[in-house]
Amino acid sequence: MKEIVRNLIRRKLRSFLTISGIVIGIVALTTMGALANNFNALLDGGAKYYASYVPVSDASANGVTSGGIIPLSKADEIAAVPGVARVFPTITVEAKPGTLQVVSLGLPDRIVSYDRAEDAYSALKTSFAAGGDVTQSGQIVLGSNFAAEFSKKVGDSITLPVKPSDATTDFVQHTYTVVGILNPTLTAPDTAAYVDLADAQQLFKEQLPVALQATFDASQYAAGFDVYGTPGTNLDQLADRINADVSGVKAQRPTKIVKALVAGGALFTEITTAAALLALIIGGLAVINTMLMAVSERVREIGLKKAVGATTRAVMREFIVESSLIGLIGGLIGFGIGFAVTSLLNASMPASQGAIFLVTPGLGALCIGFALFLGTAAGIVPAYRASRMDPVAALRAN
């Protein structure tokens, strides 16, 4: 090994350029992989969440749970459908109305109606980093990113929704007491704030056109329902039954939503694969070129080693170990740089956005392992050429 390291040091510039080729590829793989990891964690959480219940909205709504108004009385009708275990009314309103999010890798800040009992049914469990549940009107629980963005801790007050700069004079805000802060989930709850249903209904009402507000009894309405099935119930079939049995509502098949989320994740997987291919081409060609040059330069050394007893396999192994070491060094440096870059970018992101890169030990192992594989594979042809060299010709080569 000492000899291999010295060989790399002896040709400093060439080793540097070769390793740089791998470093570039692995930096690309690390950053793309970290981006995909973060996005996939969001989607996985979403997929897990959406697979566990049937979202029901007003029949005219296009979204999953919002976009319509649905009477609370429908909850009883839905609860009567065979296979339904529990129905939770739900309301979601924007926490920062009027904010335009052109590009986002997460959900916008929002205020969501909250019933702690739903946690027992949902596949996506939340836990408290501090404080506890909302027990009465005027209290709020903040997701991890939400709390960080507004720099709030348990016991603080927070005034929501955030007033847009072009808000009209009748824009209404409420001050809540923060009673709990959730642990990060890497998905939807991180950018949410939770209030009780009555407070959410009030916010919902205040977002309606002024002309409607006076006559609208918000306490009788929700934006949608989260419907949970009894154990063993097929939720797609339950959605179909709700649509058939309850008029004026639209139940979404959970698998349809999950499929849409998985399709979104596939794009990032493709981007990561492209980064890996880039690393393969740049790094692989650099290592092959370097090792072929090394074999050409060391013809007499190879002849000498064969003369003093090195077998074909021994010669081949030495060159492959050398190319593997180039790959490993490139992988370690590339991953280190990628980790530093993603950490800096994460730190520079606004708190509302949260981290956009997620570097995991698995990603580290993938990047370094890939670089090692690349170095090893690229060394095979030069090593084979070295190992098959005629010792007589090699010893007397100029």
């Binding site: 010295r6 050394e301 064969k306 003369a307 003093v308 007893g309």
Partner: protein, 231 residues
């Protein structure tokens, strides 16, 4: 002991067949100090390559310590080279990235059952007068010193025979005398056979037996260089 039986090596050069070795038969006893002389193209180096199992003869056989090498596969030949044969080359052939001691120990790396060890390598370095140069790199040493390292390397696996290919060809006459003396001392102290191919008749004169080749054949096999060149 080395037995060479009807060794031939023919190869094509254009349309002509070159008979580099043409039916050479010899026996070299353990511990002999032998020079092989002859003009360029006489077959000296080809014979050394065949003795060293570096090239495959067209016909004939080389038997080393009772083992017929003609049927050995490449990797078996490599192992036999590591265990039975040491090499000294004209251009030293030291690895530039290894220290003198590491170069001496190189054959140990490839031996399945190394006969020597680090202590033995250090002893050999002392025997060739380089105990204070063990950790020097080749480019920090003179040609004569590098060749002394190569001599120590040739002996590190305690071989039966050391093959020298013009071992004094790249050094001045004074250094050549020193190297010849070292090889002679190693030959006597370790009972290792030395077969040295050389143009240098002064070096050949210091050996016990001089074999002269011409056109791939042995034309003289004498105890003195004068007798060998007189043929």
């Amino acid at each position: 002991m080395i037995e060479i039986n009807q060794l031939t090596k023919h190869y094509k050069q254009g349309k002509n067949v070159v008979r580099a070795l043409d039916g050479v038969s010899l026996t070299i006893e353990q511990g002999e100090f032998v020079a092989v002389v002859g003009r360029s193209g006489s077959g000296k180096t080809t014979m050394l390559d065949s003795l060293g199992l570096l090239s495959k003869p067209t016909s004939g056989s080389v038997v080393i310590d009772g083992a017929d090498t003609s049927r050995l596969k490449d990797n078996q030949k490599a192992r036999m080279r590591g265990e039975k044969i040491g090499f000294i080359f004209q251009e030293y052939n030291l690895l530039p990235t290894l220290s003198a001691l590491e170069n001496v120990m190189l054959p140990l790396r490839y031996a399945s059952k190394p006969a020597g060890d680090r202590a033995w390598a250090e002893k050999l370095m002392s025997e060739v007068g380089l105990e204070d140069r063990m950790h020097h790199l080749p480019d920090q040493m003179s040609g004569g010193q590098q060749q002394r390292v190569a001599i120590a390397r040739s002996l590190v696996n305690k071989p039966s025979v050391v093959l020298g290919d013009e071992p004094t060809g790249a050094v001045d006459s004074e250094t050549s005398d020193q190297l010849a003396a070292i090889m002679r001392r190693m030959n006597e102290e370790h009972n290792v056979t030395f077969v040295i191919v050389t143009h240098d008749l002064e070096l050949a004169a210091k050996t016990d037996r001089v074999i002269r080749l011409k056109d791939g054949r042995v034309i003289a096999d004498e105890t003195t260089v004068q007798e060998a060149v007189a043929v």
